[in-house]
Symmetry: C2
Subunit: 355 residues, 2 copies
């Protein structure tokens, strides 16, 4: 491992199927130093590296990032300034307090400030949801350049150090705030650092809010529903046919509510996007992320995908009868997982949550 690959330093947080491909893409382009936070399979990765079977990059044997750390505390303990903190983990603000994005990146933000308080730290959130930048704006005094990444990719870690990327990487990167010159410059530079011509796809996003609302159309309506019933999308569509069927009772009304919420803050999502999402999902037997997370007994990204849009709807007076029901039901499932994980306690004697 050496530092000869360029001036900028990136650290990727989250070494699941997606994070490893993200780190490898930066490494392959050879325009920055790549550090990776590797939690569960750290020892394996340090010894043997990754074996990646990728539709973008082919067979990659024994790949190691320039630096690997067990956690962000360890990464912050050195004297390395990280120009880019790239977060590819799930965003679950209602989960364990130590796993919120702000808590996870805090050691890095603080060590950066200690090393050079005049240099810009760029945080790239490659995550789903709306208003995810708010937490970082509230939690940190030192201004960060906040960059949005919206990614389409299918990649899975099959075993320690073994990653299989089935679906091509398509990443769109821009400033959360288009008036923030540091964030805009950071996003543009990140696009250049990330690009592997002819292999992956990355582009600059001039309107990240629109991009995020657009992806929410799918995630708030369809991803949530599949999680509630633990079924792939075509089964959801086919298993409740008729005039009160899934498409007309759930998917379209829920998406129309997202269109209305986005419109209430000046973002126009064309109705044809609704047709698009219904049609592309109809024939692909596929379980989206929330469904997979829930089936694994893991927490889901319910607040950034449904909770935050509904809070905007409440502020702006947009009626959301369908999403309200979806949110309430999925919140119950989330709490059920929290109870199983010990994050929440229910007292059967009082029939109330224990404090």
């Amino acid at each position: 491992m050496n530092g000869s690959h360029g001036h900028k330093s990136c650290i990727v947080i989250g070494a699941g199927g997606v994070g490893v491909i993200t780190a490898y893409s930066l490494f392959k382009a050879q325009k920055c130093q790549v550090s990776l936070i590797v939690r569960s399979d750290y020892d394996h990765v340090v010894q043997e590296g990754y074996n990646i079977d990728s539709c973008d990059y082919g067979a990659v044997k024994e790949w190691k990032p320039h630096y690997a750390y067990r956690n962000t505390q360890d990464a912050a303990a050195g004297d390395r300034f990280f120009d880019y903190i790239v977060v590819t983990t799930k965003n679950i603000p209602d989960g364990a307090a130590e796993n919120t994005v702000s808590q996870v990146i805090r050691p890095l933000v603080e060590s950066n400030a200690r090393i050079d308080s005049t240099r810009v730290t760029c945080v790239v959130l490659v995550q789903n949801g709306i208003d995810i930048e708010k937490e970082l704006q509230e939690e940190f005094d030192h201004p960060l350049a906040l960059v949005s990444g919206v990614q389409l990719i299918a990649s899975t870690k099959l075993a320690p150090g073994i990653v299989h990327q089935k679906g091509k990487d398509h990443l769109i990167v821009g400033a959360f705030d288009a008036m923030d010159a540091h964030a805009v410059a950071g996003a543009r530079e990140f696009v250049e650092m990330y690009r592997n011509e002819g292999q992956n796809h990355v582009e600059f996003d001039a309107s990240t809010r629109f991009t995020r609302w657009k992806k929410l159309l799918y995630n708030a309506a369809i991803n949530t529903t599949t999680a509630l019933v633990e079924l792939d999308v075509p089964r959801c569509l086919e298993f409740a046919q008729g005039s009160l069927g899934t498409e007309h009772t759930l998917f379209r009304p829920a998406m129309q509510e997202i269109v209305a919420i986005a419109a209430s803050e000046g973002i126009t999502l064309g109705e044809q996007l609704i047709d698009f999402f219904v049609e592309i999902t109809r024939n692909l037997v596929y379980k989206p992320s929330m469904c997979v997370d829930h089936e694994k007994g893991q927490l889901m990204e319910i607040e950034v995908i449904v909770g935050n849009p509904l809070r905007i709807a409440q502020r702006n007076g947009v009626p959301t009868p369908t999403l309200n029901v979806i949110y309430t039901l999925i919140k119950m499932l989330q709490s059920k997982t929290k109870e199983a994980q010990g994050l929440l306690k229910f007292d059967e004697k009082t029939a109330r949550l224990a404090q």
Copy 2:
């Protein structure tokens, strides 16, 4: 077993926890002959009888009904006329065709007609839901006296021949059609045959449609929700707190929709009933029937509890945004169970239901 207990003959269909107590109540009152259809534990019951631990009747040892049959075909093969066909099974019209109420009772209705076509056959449906009598009106040419039974009871079959009744039996019986003199007379007679003074509670119901809508308030809103998330009622209430919580986003709106549907056909359910149901369920850690059925991998009574009310709403132009979502989701779960049971086939190649 002998025929000395009176002139009328009753046959009880469904020998689960509830059906056995229903049959025993008729037997104990000594005003009719009691036949029982015993499916799974027939051999055990014929040899050893039932051992019942009952909050109404105490410890009952080795009880046997006057007659027991494996199925309604066997019961119909004799020359016995059954004045009362008492159905205590679940009502699942979307389940296996041979298990619909009309198919199950058909042999008895036909043998009755053969034995004495001038005598009235009373069918007592001790079941949940609305419009459950319609199937029998459509399926049979010979007019039946259709009697409604709405029961509150908690009773479980723990093992072959072993029944534990924890909650007192409260049965209310009346004519589905108050203008049907045979059904009214049959209901009144059934009340007398069923009563065990000081032990169980049975009364005549002058307005069965009101009674059924009232019970639907609970079943369509609360029972369904618990099944969707597989949680008891207090956890449902506590696990999604806040202004968008379960009570205000789900339970009350769903119940208000039932109130509106009932009102559209002239039945007035007071709003205070909604408060009543929310309050009585808040402190009792209890999983209702649909939740239990679903957790056991069994089909749920979704059509009589949600589907039929929604069909009335559609006819009468009543908006039901909350119940639509609940129905669509629970229909997906029902189809999932049907797929597991082989009642429905999904072709992953075409991503469509197989014909």
